[in-house]
Every structure is written in structure tokens, then in C-alpha cells.
């Protein structure tokens, strides 16, 4: 089993810097998620761990060994991609045994058969073994791809958006299956995704990446409730957080000239800030201090997300599904002052992180 450490990694393609000053320490047996929008440098990071890409500067450690100069074959990592991990000409069985037939492994047929058997039972793909892979559905294909990684019994599983090409239902099912598998194997997983729900539900820890840099590393609930900056706040959480530019005057937040609301605790010094409040911390009730108009309603089944218009501001609030509202209704809202996050108006950094 393995601990992965990236030390001060940068990677440039010509003039373009894809990854910059990356430091990551993934513990043995951890489910570690790299989360970020497209182009953030997640795939590049994963490829550097796999040895498919050489970092421009910095080192990669697996356990205590510096593997920076090692080729992919020597690193004993397994890779699962969004697509193209399987060979279309081969059957599922041949795809699964392909990694085991490499000369470096030199395994006996009996051992190969044993591993194949275990992997196909674990993933419930035994009935597919003799099919050509181009005859498989998307979900079956990804199961087989994961199987191809499992048979190797590698030190580390690297997964690059393995669920992104699947439809929503299947994605949900495979999400919990994968998490379950990781716990049973006790293996180290590094899982790349742009889907924050995947990251939140599966990750022991998440690294949020943006423009080649790490914005924040932490447990999902910490990243959610205490984002380091406005990027992380906006990227994690659905429906997205409300980010409102405004000022602190006295003990209150003022979104001049539209409305003002109280703040809790020792207020920060007066001045311009970005206020962050999650939709579930905005409450709609008749006696609330601020008046707004209903701009949009999204029914999510278990709750409704109303977008409210106050002056030039739009604000989302989560309300119980039974509440009846209509477009352009006049409603009143307030927020939970304890949950308001304060971000520096220019740098976007969370004040709580600035202090630390």
C-alpha cells in the first residue's frame, strides 16, 4: 500500500503552464479527490503520478521512494480513464488479463485465472467475460476498466473522470460501488473529477484545483463550510453559494442601496467585502427584514430553490418543497448571521484563512 507525495511540482507545455507549485500528500489507503473545472490541470497531475508525463520541476514520491525518474511500468500504479482504457479488438477476458501477461509480471496461467475470477466476481462482470468490449454498454465498459485495474493489485489506483461519460443514474450507482470497493481493498485512490457532488460524496479529502494551482485541500465538509476563497466557495456546493459584493458598516452588512442585514460576532473592520451565504442559510418568512421578488423557481423534489431579486442582486434560497410561491411574488427573507462568510473584496480570500 502506498503514500503519494508530490513535492513542489510544476509542469509547462511550451509557454503554457498547466500545473504550478503543487504540493500534495496522500495518505496510505486514502480516497483522495482532485476536483476542479476543465483545464485546471487535474489530468496533467494524474499523468505525472502515473509517469506518463515528466514534471518540469519538482519530485514525485511513492512511499518513501523518489520515483521522478521511473517509467510508468515501474511505478506499479493502475490507471482508469473516462474512455479508451479498453482494447476494442479484445474480449473482456483478454482485456482483464492483458496487464497480467506483461513480461515484468511473469505470472502463471493459474494465478491469472485466480485474479480474473476475483475481479470479475467483485465487479459482477463474470457474464461478460467472453464479449468483445465494443459490445458493452458504457457502464459495463467502466466496470471492466476498473476490473483491469483491480487484477493488477497495484499500490495506487489513479482514476481520471471514470464516471463522467455515464448517465446520471449509473453514475450514482457506480459512485457508491467504487467507494465501497476502495474501502474493501484498503487501497490508495486518487480520483479526478470536475463534479463536486462526486468529490463530496466519495472523497476522504478533496484538493480543489484552479488554473494549475491548488486552491484548497481538506475534508469535504471543511471545504464546504469553510472555503479558502470565493473560487472554492463557488465551485463546491449545489445550488451554488450566494456571493454578494457589499460593505460592512457598523455591525451590519450593507448591499447598498438594496438592503442590509445583521452580522454575528465581532465584526471585521469596516470596508468592502464579498459576502458568502449558502442557499440553505437564507430563510424566507413573512416577518423577515428584507423584501424581494421571486425571479425564478427550481423544484428539486425535496426542496425548492427560489432565486430572489433585490435591487440589482440575485439571491438563491432553499425553501421547503411544500411552500407555494409564484414568479414575481413578493416575499421576505433574512440570513443566518452565523453562517455568513467574509471574503476579501480584491483577493477573494476568506478572512478566516487570511488570519490563519
Amino acid at each position: 500500500m502506498a503514500r503519494i507525495r508530490l513535492e513542489n511540482i510544476s509542469k509547462s507545455f511550451g509557454q503554457h503552464t498547466a500545473v504550478e507549485d503543487l504540493d500534495i500528500d496522500v495518505a496510505d489507503g486514502e480516497f483522495f479527490v482532485l476536483l476542479g473545472p476543465t483545464g485546471a490541470g487535474k489530468t496533467t497531475t494524474l499523468r505525472m503520478i502515473a509517469g506518463l508525463e515528466k514534471p518540469t520541476t519538482g519530485r514525485v514520491h511513492i512511499n518513501e521512494a523518489d520515483v521522478s525518474a521511473w517509467g510508468p511500468a515501474e511505478r506499479d500504479v493502475a490507471l482508469v480513464l473516462q474512455q479508451y482504457s479498453l482494447y476494442p479488438r479484445l474480449t473482456v477476458r483478454d482485456n482483464l488479463s492483458f496487464p497480467l501477461r506483461s513480461r515484468v509480471r511473469n505470472m502463471s496461467e493459474a494465478d491469472i485465472e485466480k485474479r480474473l475470477d476475483y475481479a470479475s466476481k467483485t465487479l459482477r462482470i463474470t457474464h461478460l467475460l467472453d464479449r468483445k468490449t465494443d459490445r458493452l454498454s458504457g457502464g459495463e465498459m467502466q466496470r471492466v476498466s476498473i476490473g483491469r485495474a483491480i487484477v493488477r493489485e497495484p499500490q495506487v489506483f489513479l482514476m481520471d473522470e471514470p464516471l463522467s461519460a455515464l448517465d446520471a443514474k449509473l453514475r450514482e450507482a457506480l459512485r457508491s460501488e467504487l467507494k465501497d470497493l476502495q474501502m474493501r481493498l484498503g487501497a490508495t485512490f486518487i480520483f479526478v473529477t470536475h463534479d463536486q457532488v462526486e468529490a463530496m460524496t466519495m472523497g476522504d479529502r478533496i484538493a480543489v484545483m484552479n488554473k494549475g494551482r491548488i486552491a484548497q485541500v481538506g475534508r469535504p465538509q471543511d471545504v464546504y463550510s469553510n472555503p479558502r476563497n470565493t473560487f472554492v466557495a463557488g465551485f463546491v456546493g449545489s445550488p451554488a453559494i450566494n456571493l454578494l459584493p457589499g460593505r460592512i458598516v457598523g455591525n451590519g452588512a450593507v448591499m447598498a442601496p438594496s438592503f442590509q442585514l445583521p452580522l454575528a460576532g465581532p465584526a471585521a473592520s469596516e470596508g468592502a467585502y464579498t459576502f458568502g451565504i449558502r442557499p440553505e442559510d437564507v430563510s424566507v418568512e413573512s416577518g423577515a427584514p428584507v423584501e424581494a421578488r421571486v425571479h425564478d423557481i427550481e423544484n428539486h423534489g425535496i426542496e425548492k430553490i427560489v432565486t430572489m431579486r433585490v435591487g440589482e442582486h440575485l439571491l438563491r434560497a432553499a425553501i421547503p418543497a411544500r411552500t407555494t410561491v409564484a414568479l414575481e411574488d413578493q416575499i421576505r427573507f433574512s440570513w443566518n448571521p452565523n453562517k455568513v462568510m467574509l471574503f476579501d473584496a480584491t483577493t477573494g480570500v476568506n478572512l478566516r484563512h487570511q488570519a490563519a
Binding site: 506518463l52 479508451y84 476494442p88 479488438r89 513480461r103 509480471r105 493488477r152
Partner: protein
């Protein structure tokens, strides 16, 4: 609306079929012409207007493979009776077969020339396709400095009409002793075809996801093993298409073969018309030589047809 459009769709289909039929007839008529000529008696082959109905005979093929002389006097009946059926065909035409000192029939040069064509075309195709495949793989997968310029340079070797360099080639080949050798023509045809093969194969290689090899690399294979185990099978279609094109080019090449070979390494294309000048112009024999010459390309293309069709519908040719 739907009715109208489907009716016009059917009409469009019929027009398309008619056009295809006309084109097919136009393209096949020379082949029909040369094939029927190869089975016609000489008088009917040259008759005006051309004869459509005739009794097919294989005398031209017997003549193609043998050396003959005009009969000066009628053959003795017992010799005629003793002759095998195919010799009788020739005797009936007023010629006798040339025989060597042991009385064995002397073959014409045609089989040798035909075999020369096979050796040279097959070898140069194998060389051009394998070099083209490896080069294309390099260009497709690695960052090559000045890639665009190099690729353009490779292509530019095809821009000059080859015949422009025929005389210098002849002089150079004479100087190094490559005139009238198999190796000489193989080198030349390989050089012609390799640029073409690189370009064609580059298109096919680019279409093979590099993830396939990377998965193999991560799984413990070397780049070389990944190439042979994964890339080559995936590239089979492209290789087949490229091979057919290279083979046809080498098989049909006329100008250089005419200038650079005359006996030992001469290929069929310059040989077949060289028969026109000798003695009576027997068009049926030339037609017979031509018909046999068409067969290898037909077989080769037929064997690779599945690959070819797929190759045409994706890959470089589409672009």
C-alpha cells in the same frame, strides 16, 4: 409532405443507381475489351467493326508463354498427331514452337518478367509500408522538432514529376551498378512510396487514441511491446489501404522500369508492349499478357477489401 419527400427520395435513389451503372460500364469497358481480345482469334481481334460474338480460344495464352517461328512448310501428319493439344493450337495458326537441343519447349520471357514484377512490387511495398508506418507513428506520438516542415519536406519529394529525374537516375544507377537489378527498382519504388505511406499512415495513427498505448505502458509493457501488441492491430486497416496503394504504384510503374531495366530485372509493364515490335503484331498475345497482369492487383485488392472499405470511410483518406 412525407409522401412527397419519400417519393422524391426514391427517385433520387434511382437516378443515383443509374449514374453508378453508367460509370461502372464506362470503367469496366476497357477491361471487357482487353479480356475478350485475349480470347479472340487474331482476325477477329483486329476486325472493323469489332466482332462481339466469337468462339473463345486460349491460343493467345499458349503463344504468350512460348517462343514460336513461322512454319515454312506444313508439318508432317505424324508430328501433328504426336503434338499435345496446346501445341496443335499453335500449329493450326501456321506457327511452330521453338524447342531447345533436348527437344523441350522454350518458354518466352513473360513468366520471368511477371515474377520480376511480383518480387519488386511486393518487396518495395513491404519496405515502404513498414518504414512509413514506423515514421508515421513517430510523427504522431512524439514531439518532433520542426514536425510540420519535415512532413512537408517528405511530401515535397512527390511534387516533382518523377520522369524529370529519370536521366540522372539512369546515370547514377549505371555508375553504382544498379541498372537492370531487382535491388535498383526496389530502392526506387520504395523511395517513391514511402512519402505517400508516411502521410497516409500518419492520418490513421492520429486516429488511434494514444490512451491505448499509455494504458499498456502503465500496465507494464514497453513502448515497443505496446506498439506491436496494440498499435499495429489497430492500424491494420490503414496498413492494408496503404499497402494496396503502394503495390498498385509499384506494379504499374512503367517509365523507370523501361529506362532502368532491359533483361534480368525487367518488369512486365515495359515487357508487354516490347512484344509489339517483333514480327507480326499479335494483339491477342499482348491482350493475354495484359489480362494476366491485371490479376495480382485484383486478388490483392479483393483480399484486403474489408479493410479498404473501412479505410476509405475513416482515416486519412476522408480528410
Amino acid at each position: 409532405m412525407a409522401v412527397v419527400s419519400s417519393r422524391s427520395g426514391r427517385l433520387g435513389n434511382r437516378i443515383a443507381i443509374a449514374v453508378v451503372l453508367v460509370i461502372t460500364v464506362i470503367f469496366l469497358s476497357p477491361i471487357y475489351w482487353i479480356t475478350t481480345t485475349a480470347f479472340k482469334p487474331l482476325v477477329q481481334a483486329t476486325s472493323v467493326p469489332p466482332s462481339v460474338l466469337f468462339e473463345p480460344q486460349i491460343t493467345p495464352f499458349v503463344k504468350l508463354f512460348t517462343k514460336r517461328a513461322q512454319l515454312t512448310a506444313p508439318v508432317a501428319p505424324e508430328i501433328y498427331e504426336a503434338a499435345p493439344w496446346w501445341e496443335k493450337l499453335v500449329l493450326d495458326g501456321g506457327e511452330r514452337l521453338a524447342r531447345d537441343g533436348n527437344g523441350e519447349v522454350v518458354f518466352s520471357a513473360y513468366p520471368d518478367r511477371f515474377i520480376n514484377s511480383l518480387i519488386i512490387a511486393i518487396t518495395s511495398t513491404i519496405l515502404a509500408v513498414s518504414m512509413g508506418t514506423i515514421t508515421a507513428y513517430g510523427f504522431s506520438r512524439f514531439r518532433v522538432k520542426g514536425e510540420a516542415d519535415l512532413l512537408f519536406f517528405i511530401l515535397s519529394t512527390r511534387m516533382l514529376p518523377p520522369i524529370v529525374v529519370a536521366i540522372p537516375m539512369f546515370l547514377m544507377y549505371r555508375a553504382v551498378g544498379l541498372n537492370d537489378t531487382h535491388v535498383g527498382l526496389i530502392i526506387l519504388y520504395t523511395a517513391f512510396n514511402v512519402s505517400f505511406a508516411v502521410w497516409l499512415m500518419k492520418g490513421f495513427m492520429d486516429e488511434i487514441p494514444k490512451e491505448y498505448e499509455e494504458a499498456a505502458l502503465v500496465d507494464g509493457y514497453t513502448r515497443m511491446q505496446a506498439f506491436f501488441k496494440i498499435v499495429l492491430p489497430e492500424a491494420a486497416t490503414g496498413i492494408a489501404a496503404t499497402a494496396v496503394f503502394c503495390f498498385i504504384t509499384a506494379w504499374n510503374e512503367y517509365a523507370f522500369a523501361l529506362i532502368l531495366t532491359n533483361r534480368r530485372a525487367q518488369t512486365a509493364p515495359p515487357f508487354i508492349p516490347s512484344q509489339i515490335g517483333t514480327g507480326l503484331q499479335d494483339w491477342t498475345v499482348i491482350a493475354a499478357g495484359t489480362v494476366l497482369f491485371l490479376i495480382p492487383v485484383a486478388i490483392f485488392t479483393f483480399l484486403l477489401r474489408n479493410h479498404l472499405l473501412r479505410g476509405m470511410s475513416f482515416g486519412a483518406i476522408r480528410k
